[in-house]
Symmetry: C2
Subunit: 346 residues, 2 copies
Amino acid sequence: MTILALDAMGGDHAPDAVVAGAASLTLETSGPRVVLVGDGARIEAVLRELPHDRARLEVVDAPEHVAMDAEPRAALEAHPRASVIVAAELVRDGRADALVSAGNTGAFTLACARTFARIPGVSRCALGAVYPTERRRGEKEDPFSLILDAGLTLDPTADDLVGFAVMGAAYSARISRNPEPTVALLSNGSEPTKGPAAIVRAHERLLATAGLHFIGNVEGTDIPKGTADVVVTGGFTGNVVLKMLEGIAETVMNLGRYAYRKSLRNKAGLALLAPAVKQLKEVTDWEEYGGAPILGFDRVCIKAHGRSSPRAVRNALKVAQKAVRSGLCEAIRLGLQGGQGSLPPD
Amino acid sequence: MTILALDAMGGDHAPDAVVAGAASLTLETSGPRVVLVGDGARIEAVLRELPHDRARLEVVDAPEHVAMDAEPRAALEAHPRASVIVAAELVRDGRADALVSAGNTGAFTLACARTFARIPGVSRCALGAVYPTERRRGEKEDPFSLILDAGLTLDPTADDLVGFAVMGAAYSARISRNPEPTVALLSNGSEPTKGPAAIVRAHERLLATAGLHFIGNVEGTDIPKGTADVVVTGGFTGNVVLKMLEGIAETVMNLGRYAYRKSLRNKAGLALLAPAVKQLKEVTDWEEYGGAPILGFDRVCIKAHGRSSPRAVRNALKVAQKAVRSGLCEAIRLGLQGGQGSLPPD
């Protein structure tokens, strides 16, 4: 059985929403075993109010935790026994198979970097994020593409980008059940010569990387279309892209309201469409996929959104379970050996 | 009277759409005088079919032109008398006040760089682009923000970014009639310490730049919202952002269709909304603003979209006229003297 270490104190609605997400998952058949790490008394108090299967829950006490808005380095310094560190150590020591947290992203990343090793061949780690696209994939009509890096490595080298491609493809193949995901580099033109030097060089190397379905460069227009299953870019641009996607749905609706404001006809039309808009919102709902992997460490690390509801936490735990069961870290190791490993140095 | 040199042979629908745009503008009171540069016989043939005021049109023959998909450097080498070069030389020699083209963007930029000087204090030029946002500004309810660089300078230094900010503010103040436009740096977080080194350094310098309404960093979410009137970024990210915006409207509509496909209720709702959707499309219609400035040269240079219709060409000409009349280049020169000029070197 997969065992997941969950930072019960991380998240805007922690520990309540976090514990609730774990509790509900224990009631599902073939769910994981979850180790809740944090303030034992508070966790137990929340659990008392919720239906759960105690045989699949464990509580490990951690006396401290990192606040959501704390400066990561200083916070870990000040709180060496913070829940996120204690949880990471459980994973390092083999008492759990993966780490999940909805807490402070910087502290989570730092705790991973201090506790886990990098997979051989990984020069820099990447934060992956899935986002909804126009395209539907496979039998489950999955609308999601994966983009990485989402903000860890602002200015990657060509080698870093090749590593991101290999890691992203391994993740997409396992989590989206897409056996041969298409991989592309984000650039300012589709031609192989377009972009800054690191991207041009990464393009050359990716063409020579075995075991990847590399389809070349994609442009900004391809992001909402979902032209590629895995979009590889630096953390600066990746962060801007993801935040634009986050803001754009709201803006489209506001723009719509602006145009429709004064017309009865428009009001009637909008009223008729309300259920469809709700449905559309659900398709693009981040809570559905609630977990973002940090790729490159020798352990599975899933970061859930700070705003996570119980449902988002449960989904992040499920993603972690899937990643462990499908051998994500081993797949990345093999991918880097077969692909990047055989390439000449820069 | 303002005189504009127009590359009549540049654009997907040249010379017909280009000449038609100029011809219709000559019928407007207080329009500029336009010099049509290109294949004289073809231009005259198009003019014969169109109402226009000949007193405000002149044709200058250029025996060659650059194809839309040509490699810019090789094309200018092969066609030294191409229409875009001949038109630029008219501006350099004082026979016209500004250069306008809907042709090959690379060739246009190269022709400008070879023919014009940079304004003192400009380290690198920038391509500006306006895009529709959620926010409405001023009495004309202008929805547009300006973003620069849109693709000329992929990896700007801090000095380049400060120059972009000053040039963008000068353009926005003159073209959008927004006397004190807000200026922001695009980054991966709102804190001044966020982002790659060049952005952090540019942030410091912008805080110390006189005459700018610098509001700090903005993030991807702020782009569709229109939080800043002028968004400053490198050409790589700027290009990705603009192309995402281009693709996203289409995707939203396609996603909508996907969700609505099978429901009669949805079809009825969409039918009622059709006029409003058309209206919304017009607000976000690039033909409305059809021209993108190249900022930093000592002459006004306006690039119209390659797909330009007569209306888009006419609007690009109007933007050029406005830029000349309002003293754009002089304003940039003064802005750089007062602002960046007084800053310590990097």
